[in-house]
């Protein structure tokens, strides 16, 4: 099954961390991504810019709206995702618990329902 590991945490800059403070976390992520890749379960990963840079659009109210900032203003932000392909939730749980951000945020494990490729269109991964 394919899962998204959604990393939610307070942004480093918001809690006053410097680049230097974050160096051990970067090293931990280097190792984590290497481990996922070596295990052959990594589909992809994207770590997101700070929400300072985020823009949200919606037409829910009928008119086009463009909003400065994230959808839903919570303390913990969606900080990035890992997409992995493993057999079941127990495997996904293990990888999520090894995610470095598990130490300072929370990791949501969400099964992927559909995915898209140019040659296949939408399909169940």
């Amino acid at each position: 099954m394919r899962y998204c590991l959604l990393m939610h945490y307070q942004e480093g800059t918001e809690v006053g961390l410097t680049e230097e403070d974050m160096a051990p976390a970067m090293a931990a992520f280097q190792q984590y991504a290497d481990d996922l890749s070596a295990a052959g379960v990594l589909i992809g990963t994207e770590v997101l810019e700070s929400v300072v840079a985020t823009t949200t659009v919606t037409a829910r109210s009928g008119a086009a709206e463009i909003q400065d900032g994230p959808f839903g203003d919570t303390k913990e932000k969606l900080g990035g995702i890992f997409v992995i392909e493993v057999d079941n939730l127990d495997e996904a749980l293990k990888w999520a618990q090894r995610n470095p951000a598990n130490a300072w945020g929370s990791i949501e494990i969400r099964p992927v329902a559909r995915t898209y490729a140019a040659d296949r269109g939408w399909y169940n991964p």
Binding site: N88, L89, D90, A92, P111
Partner: protein, 413 residues
């Protein structure tokens, strides 16, 4: 044999197989797709077909195998029609249409996997016991709702949601590695204990749930058979055996409640007691005590009354303290206060009751019953009567209410 009798015999056999083998059959059907709801439908279809066919065709030599094959074929049709997404291709999970012959292999036992799924950490704790009752024992949602004092529609909805989650979140149907199993086991024990700890007597007479304490015993024994070297598993099985052994003495023929110290020990089931004691001894030999072993030892200390005429009070006090330490609960605190009252006198018992800090004690029937007994003993009948009245208000069990009313009358006349 008359046609009517043959029909009846076939129907009885279907009912018996449904009762004895439900969980085993369901577990095998669920395994390939984790879809409990679909497997339940398939099994229900197979049981229905057995009711229609067995009276004419005769009871097959391997009824479980027959049901499994029919249910599998039915599920396969459903999957094919819906392009179902499976973890394994159909062929690999032996869903080729097996002929309905009589030398089908024995149904493998995957109930432990099923129990682990029901008590998975990703499943909310309050639905684990209901899930287990329904999938391992085949109890109807309505009966479970009665036992848990929840509206049937609400219970059904919670069960449906949990099953959907098991299927869609990818909760695996596997036996975890040894060290992972140790981590996962407490939740399974808790859920089995939940099945046993339900006050089955709350169910109306004749309700399908009535005989389920025996099924909870079965669940405990199955677990002990599957994991024979886990002391807490053995402890839980011992606990259920020793407690279930006293069931015949717990009620009058009219359903009236008989308290433990007034029970006729001749009605206690000696075989079950011996079985429980043996399980407890086996658990004890590992020297890894735990909550269920302590609770089983409490039951065992009560059972000594059958042989020695008196429960072992000092052992009981030590054991209650141990339970309060490892698994504090209101029930354990009240039981411990009652033992204090028996050993050190009713005043001490009342002091121990007063010392319980949990505000929920105000709405806890056993606490009021114990208080009433202790107040009666110290010679404060008016206060005892009030406590009995409060206890009567708090019980939904007519047998218990009748027993408490009798005690109350003694205070007031």
């Amino acid at each position: 044999m008359s046609r009517l009798r043959e029909d009846q015999q076939a129907r009885d056999r279907v009912a018996q197989v449904a009762r004895d083998s439900y969980g085993r059959l369901l577990a095998v059907l669920v395994a390939p797709t984790r879809d409990i709801a679909a497997a339940e439908d398939g099994l229900a279809d197979a049981l229905e077909r057995a009711l229609a066919r067995w009276p004419d065709d005769g009871i097959p030599a391997n009824p479980e195998g027959w049901l499994l094959t029919v249910a599998r074929n039915r599920l396969r049709d459903v999957w094919k029609a819906s392009g179902y997404r499976m973890t394994e291709p159909l062929d690999e999970i032996e869903y080729a249409s097996t002929p309905l012959d009589d030398d089908m292999p024995a149904v493998p036992d995957r109930r432990l996997e099923l129990m682990l799924v029901c008590a998975h950490p990703a499943i909310v704790p309050n639905i684990r016991t209901p899930l287990m009752l329904q999938s391992v024992l085949g109890v109807e949602a309505a009966a479970i709702a009665t036992a848990f004092a929840v509206a049937p529609a609400a219970m059904t909805q919670r069960l449906v949601r949990a099953k959907k989650r098991i299927r869609n979140a990818g909760i695996p149907f596997v036996l975890p590695e040894r060290e992972d199993l140790a981590e996962r086991l407490p939740a399974v024990l808790e859920a089995v204990y939940g099945a046993y700890a339900i006050d089955w007597q709350l169910a109306p007479p004749g309700a399908p749930i009535e005989s389920l304490s025996a099924e909870a015993l079965h669940l405990g024994l199955v677990l002990a058979e599957l994991l024979p070297d886990e002391p807490e598993v053995l402890g839980l099985a011992a606990l259920v055996c020793l407690s279930e052994a006293r069931r015949p003495a717990r009620r009058t023929a009219e359903g009236g409640f008989i308290p433990l110290d007034e029970q006729d020990t001749k009605l206690w089931d000696e075989v079950l007691i011996a079985r429980g004691e043996a399980l407890l001894q086996r658990a004890h030999d590992y020297w890894r005590p735990g909550r269920f072993q302590y609770e089983a030892a409490i039951q065992s200390a009560h059972c000594t009354r059958a042989k020695q005429g008196k429960a072992d009070l000092n052992a009981l006090r030590k054991l209650h303290r141990a339970v309060l330490r490892v698994a504090p609960s209101l029930g354990a605190a009240v039981a411990s206060a009652a033992v204090d009252g028996e050993i050190d006198g009713p005043e001490a018992g009342l002091r121990a009751l007063d010392a319980i800090g949990d505000p929920a004690v105000q709405g806890f029937q056993p606490a009021w019953t114990t208080r009433a007994h202790l107040l009666a003993e110290v010679g404060r009948p008016a206060e005892a009567a009030d406590a009995y009245r409060r206890a009567i208000e708090l019980t939904a069990d007519p047998g218990v209410a009748e027993y408490l009313s009798r005690r109350l009358r003694r205070m007031t006349c």
